[in-house]
């Protein structure tokens, strides 16, 4: 155990954890919101995220952004990539709801069946991305799509420059513009989502369905629509997270959603599944704990620390840190 190392680098580890935690938290919101309205773990949410990472890279290719893109142009390019990523992930989430869930729930299938459907959809989406080259050639589109479908099973890197400049120092740790962008963008998204749920009519409909679906129908809430919008919001947030993840990590691949999805789901459970603010807290706690744990025991212990923390917290607080459901969240 490297106590001295952790002490010496505490701020750096903490900020690193905060940045990763922001990404976890954004993805965790999608898990927790869908759970709130359907009592269902949307296991394919990790793939919704993964599609966003690809959309980010492709959007940058499309507008020709590369390592020579700097300054305002770079910021605008990344903003564009984030919008494309959000739209893509939102679309995948909507598709998922339409194809993998709604037909089942309409026929009154048990939740377990929907869960299996979710796992199946997750594999389908992930492999569809991993086999996009083969799919394109089967359709005769390989030459049209070119590099977008080349080397389907390999890593895909962010094309823009990833050397970030230190903006200011806290206790000897240089906070870069990347750290700032990620945390600020993530927090902004969270505030927007939170306000949407609390202030708007649709948001109130979402809370009502989470608390009592049958009575919500009696109030005239169209639950199909509420469920759809919940998936959409989850997708948009995952798309935003995907672009931030690419800034942080720099590369993605067709199965990149899996581990991140498991972590984000862990964050949602840690905070209290069904609870929006719980997902945020869970994301940040998980990110920071992982980062400090990795510093203490070595990088390969990162995930072990995360899951041991989950077990410990659930042992003492079985409903998570803020074990209150989405429905009961107050305005």
């Amino acid at each position: 155990m490297q106590f001295q190392y952790v002490l010496d680098n505490f701020v750096s580890l903490f900020v690193g954890g905060l940045v990763f935690g922001a990404v976890y938290a954004l993805v965790a919101l999608g898990y927790t919101m869908v759970y709130g309205v359907l009592q269902l773990i949307n296991f394919a949410h990790s793939e919704v995220f993964m599609f966003g990472t690809f959309a980010t890279v492709w959007a940058l290719w499309l507008i020709g952004a590369d390592t020579s893109t700097m300054g305002v142009a770079l910021v605008l390019s990344l903003a564009f990539a984030m919008v494309v990523s959000m739209v893509t992930s939102g679309g995948v989430a909507l598709l998922l709801e339409r194809v993998a869930y709604r037909p089942l729930l309409k026929r009154g299938a048990p939740r377990l069946v929907a869960l299996i459907s979710a796992i199946g959809a997750s594999f389908v989406l992930s492999e569809a991305m991993g086999l996009r080259g083969a799919i394109a050639s089967a359709l005769g589109l390989e030459s049209v799509l070119g590099r977008y479908v080349a080397r389907s099973r390999e890593n895909l890197g962010l094309p823009t420059d990833r050397t970030f400049t230190v903006q200011f120092e806290i206790f000897g740790y240089g906070v870069t513009n990347r750290d700032i962008i990620i945390v600020v963008a993530a927090v902004l998204m969270m505030v927007l989502a939170d306000q949407f749920i609390r202030r708007t009519r649709t948001g109130r409909g979402i809370r009502a369905v989470a608390q009592d679906p049958e009575t919500s129908s009696l109030m005239g809430v169209n639950s199909t629509r509420v469920i759809q919008i919940t998936f959409l919001i989850g997708g948009l947030l995952a798309g935003a997270a995907a672009t931030l993840y690419m800034l942080q990590v720099g590369a993605t691949r067709y199965n990149a959603g899996f581990i991140l999805g498991v972590k984000a789901f862990t964050a949602a459970v840690l905070g209290g599944i069904g609870n929006l603010r719980g997902a945020l807290l869970g994301g940040f706690v998980l990110g920071i704990a992982e980062s400090l744990g990795a510093g203490l025991f070595g990088g390969e212990w990162r995930s072990v620390v995360a899951f041991v923390l989950l077990v410990l917290i659930l042992l003492f607080r079985p409903t998570g840190l803020l074990g209150e459901s989405l429905g009961k969240a107050r305005a």
């Binding site: 009519r201 109130r204 009575t215 005239g220 809430v221």
Partner: protein, 239 residues
């Protein structure tokens, strides 16, 4: 006729919950369905609201067949319900619960809702004191007030009340029934489902007795209240 139910049958799984029932609710009236637990009263209301599928039969509201109309559209058309067990949203404040009642209305500005808030808070002054409290922290009687008030916020022509007296103290029951009369006097048609037959029959213009999914008696409230069989089974059996 505001509501016409014709030969309605509804299954609950494989069990027939209601069998071939027909009844009418004239505009401006109070109609009650009485009967024991499990007679199919709540199922009838849920089917009118569109939460249960009908197996056979039809429901006409204001001359329109409701068969293909979704639950939210039915609320828009003017049918609202205070469900059995109140079904309040525990984590929302009293105000938010009442606002949920107005969910389908096109204009939900504070100004548009103000007269309805006034109406509800005049009927239930108690809720004024509790307006900012989470509804889950209210007493049973207060929750019932929220449920009825919420149903009124939709500006319904027909309000369905499912067991409003359930689990309330006798004094509160009196009060709730008085308020139901008042709601009716203000022009809202009421379809009331009750186990508390004595109170319901006293207020109803028309009454139907349900037994194991079938209508076995009907008449004015007073007629049913005077019927020996009804008296024996539902009014304490003082013959």
């Amino acid at each position: 006729m505001l509501l016409e139910v014709r030969d309605l049958s509804v299954n609950y799984g494989h069990i027939e919950a209601i069998r071939d029932i027909s009844f009418d609710v004239p505009e401006g009236s109070v109609v009650t369905l009485i009967g024991a637990n499990g007679a199919g009263k709540s199922t009838t209301l849920k089917t009118i609201s569109g939460l249960r599928k009908m197996r056979t039969g039809s429901i006409f509201y204001d001359g329109q067949d409701l068969a293909k109309i979704s639950p939210d559209k039915r609320v828009q058309m003017g049918i609202s319900q205070a469900p059995e067990g109140r079904g309040i949203f525990p984590g929302m404040t009293v105000r938010e619960n009442l606002e949920m009642g107005a969910y389908v209305r096109r204009n939900r500005s504070a100004a548009a809702l103000a007269p309805d808030f006034d109406r509800v808070l005049t009927l239930f002054p108690r809720l004024q004191e509790r307006i900012k409290q989470p509804a889950g922290t209210l007493s049973g009687g207060e929750q019932q007030m929220v449920a009825i008030g919420r149903a009124l916020m939709a500006q319904p022509r027909l309000v369905l009340l499912d067991e409003p007296s359930m689990g309330l103290a006798p004094k509160l029951i009196q009060q709730i029934f008085k308020i139901i009369e008042e709601i009716n006097a203000q022009g809202t048609t009421v379809l009331l489902v009750e186990q508390n037959a004595a109170q319901a029959l006293r207020r109803a213009h028309h009454a139907y007795l349900l037994e194991t999914g079938e209508i076995v008696r009907s008449g004015t409230g007073a007629e049913l209240a005077g019927d020996p069989a009804v008296r024996a089974a539902y009014l304490g059996g003082d013959i």
